[in-house]
């Protein structure tokens, strides 16, 4: 076990979760220490976003234990959860910018809601955050005027506006060109170190994450199937890890959502 459970800022033990009858997570153990940047990888639809939602307290695990900053999430009421969330930042997979506010107001939103800072201070903070993601010049634009990658960078600036202790990124690299990708990767690392925070990053970008993270978990079929530091991952003989790192189509990770064989499906004998 590479992760040190006692010193964990976030820890999951035997976490299970189902949407209706479909069990998405079948017992996940995972931990993130203070100061660490951890990546979660896995095939599309394997439950990575669900995992972040569980850590953020938006979904409740059906069994198992989730702890964040020493609080057991299942025992936390709404007030406690909100108090905890003030110290969390989350970058949503699709940005989720407020469409009725400008870029500036989006980033200022958490500051205005949770602090009594004077307008000039808020302005300075917002411009600093926007500058970090390279979009200081876009402060007056409306979300509809941004490209997908720009919107996600603004969302990133908003997620870290309150200098959180725990930052969760749901695919921060999706839709970024190679240059922004490198810059954002470095930014995630630097932010984490500057704030002394912990970061969890869901991503498909193996090579970028191997550069910046401290630890990697691979999720498949509702479980953690492999884990390790970047060096361990690079050296790994595990077929699963190998398939991911070298982007092979065949291997333990199925490309297809479970379905009846194609022939049967086309002949209409199955409704799966």
């Amino acid at each position: 076990m590479g992760a040190d459970v006692d010193n964990a800022f976030v820890s999951l033990e035997g976490v299970r979760f189902s949407y209706g009858d479909r069990e998405i997570l079948k017992g996940v153990d995972l931990s993130v220490r203070r100061g660490q940047v951890v990546a979660i990888m896995g095939g599309s639809g394997c439950g990575k976003t669900t995992l972040l939602r569980l850590i953020g307290g938006q979904l409740r695990a059906s069994s198992g234990r989730i702890e964040v900053a020493g609080h057991d999430l299942s025992r936390l009421g709404r007030k406690g959860l909100y108090a905890l969330r003030r110290r969390m930042g989350m970058l949503f997979q699709f940005g989720a910018l407020f469409t009725d506010m400008s870029v500036f107001d989006n980033v200022a939103f958490p500051l205005r809601e949770h602090t009594d800072l004077p307008a000039e201070t808020i302005r300075d903070l917002v411009l600093m955050k926007l500058n970090a993601v390279g979009l200081r010049g876009a402060e007056r634009l409306q979300p509809a005027e941004l490209s997908g990658g720009m919107a996600r960078r603004v969302a990133l600036a908003r997620a870290v506006a309150l200098d959180p202790m725990l930052i969760m990124y749901d695919e921060p690299f999706a839709g970024l060109d190679p240059i922004s990708l490198g810059v954002i990767g470095q930014l995630i690392r630097r932010l984490n170190d500057a704030l002394g925070a912990s970061s969890i990053m869901v991503t498909h970008d193996v090579h970028e994450s191997l550069e910046i993270v401290d630890y990697i978990y691979f999720v498949a079929d509702g479980r953690i199937v492999a884990q390790g530091t970047p060096d361990e991952i690079r050296a790994s003989k595990d077929p699963f890890v190998h398939q991911f790192v070298y982007a092979e189509a065949d291997g333990p990770v199925p490309f297809h959502y479970p379905a009846a064989p194609m022939g049967e499906h086309l002949l209409g004998r199955s409704t799966a």
């Binding site: 953020g56 938006q58 909100y82 108090a83 969330r85 003030r86 969390m88 989350m90 949503f92 699709f94 989720a96 910018l97 407020f98 469409t99 009725d100 939103f109 958490p110 809601e113 949770h114």
Partner: protein
């Protein structure tokens, strides 16, 4: 037999689902009231919604009120003059508007103009995960998004009803006095003598407040409760307009039967 069972089952399921939804809506209403503090302490949030729901509905309310009043003037004169009571035209116009047409017609217009817009906005915010993002930032979407829109509607609609009725009286006067030539003195003095503030105006205002609460609640609830897809939002908008209309007409009957028993 089999068909009948299926039909019964379906009806049963519909009824149970309907009761559930009413339960959800009631719980939601309580939550909105509970989280209304911010709508008052940060009044600019509510004022913004009063602008979007109220001010932007002004044009349609003013124009519709004028036309409804003009039609009342024509129809009322045509009937009253048969009995030689054309001077009572002012009474007829004012009472119809204050008691019934003002609250009901303005309410229906408000539901389709502003209620549908509120549902669409909240529904789209839900679909694009903006509400979830807000919740993750420890800001309650009910306090920050829903409650101001609810109060914006509750405050603007009675004002719009008053404007609608005033425009209606003006329209009745325009047709009756200016075009047809009913005696102006009689038009106004009979109106003043016959319209009672408490019995007619106040009851009409109570109606408009009740309708405002119903329409605003339906609009925010349908938006908040919608299925987060394009189709779900469009269904929610339809439901807002249909349920608001039904609610207004049904509540109008109930209120009228309590208020105006003669």
């Amino acid at each position: 037999m089999n068909g009948a069972t299926t039909l019964l089952r379906r009806i049963g399921a519909r009824v149970v689902e309907g009761v559930w939804r009413v339960g959800f809506a009631a719980r939601f209403f309580m939550l909105v009231l509970l989280y209304s503090g911010q709508s008052l302490t940060r009044i600019h949030l509510t004022i913004r919604e009063i602008y979007f729901s109220g001010v932007l509905s002004l044009l349609i309310i003013v124009v519709s009120g004028l036309f409804v009043g003009m039609v009342l003037g024509l129809q009322g004169y045509e009937t009253l003059q048969r009995y030689g009571a054309a001077e009572s035209l002012g009474v007829l116009v004012a009472l119809s508007l204050a008691r019934e047409l003002g609250p009901v017609v303005a309410g229906l217009l408000f539901a389709s103009r502003a209620g549908s817009a509120v549902t669409a906005e909240i529904g789209l915010m839900k679909t694009t995960e903006q509400l979830k993002a807000m919740d993750m930032m420890a800001v309650s979407p009910i306090a920050r998004v829903v409650a101001p829109r609810f109060w914006g509607g509750v405050i603007s609609m009675p004002l719009l009803v008053a404007i609608f009725s005033a425009m209606g009286v003006f329209g009745g006067w325009l047709i009756g006095v200016v075009f047809i030539g009913v005696d102006e003195g009689a038009f106004w003095s009979q109106m003043q003598a016959a319209v009672d503030f408490r019995y007619d105006i106040a009851n009409g205002m109570i109606k408009s407040v009740v309708f405002a609460v119903a329409v605003s609640l339906i609009a925010v609830f349908e938006g908040y409760d919608c299925t987060p897809t394009a189709e779900g939002v469009s269904r929610a908008i339809t439901r807002t307009v249909v349920s608001s209309a039904l609610a207004i007409l049904a509540l109008d009957f109930v209120l009228t039967s309590f208020m105006f028993r003669g």
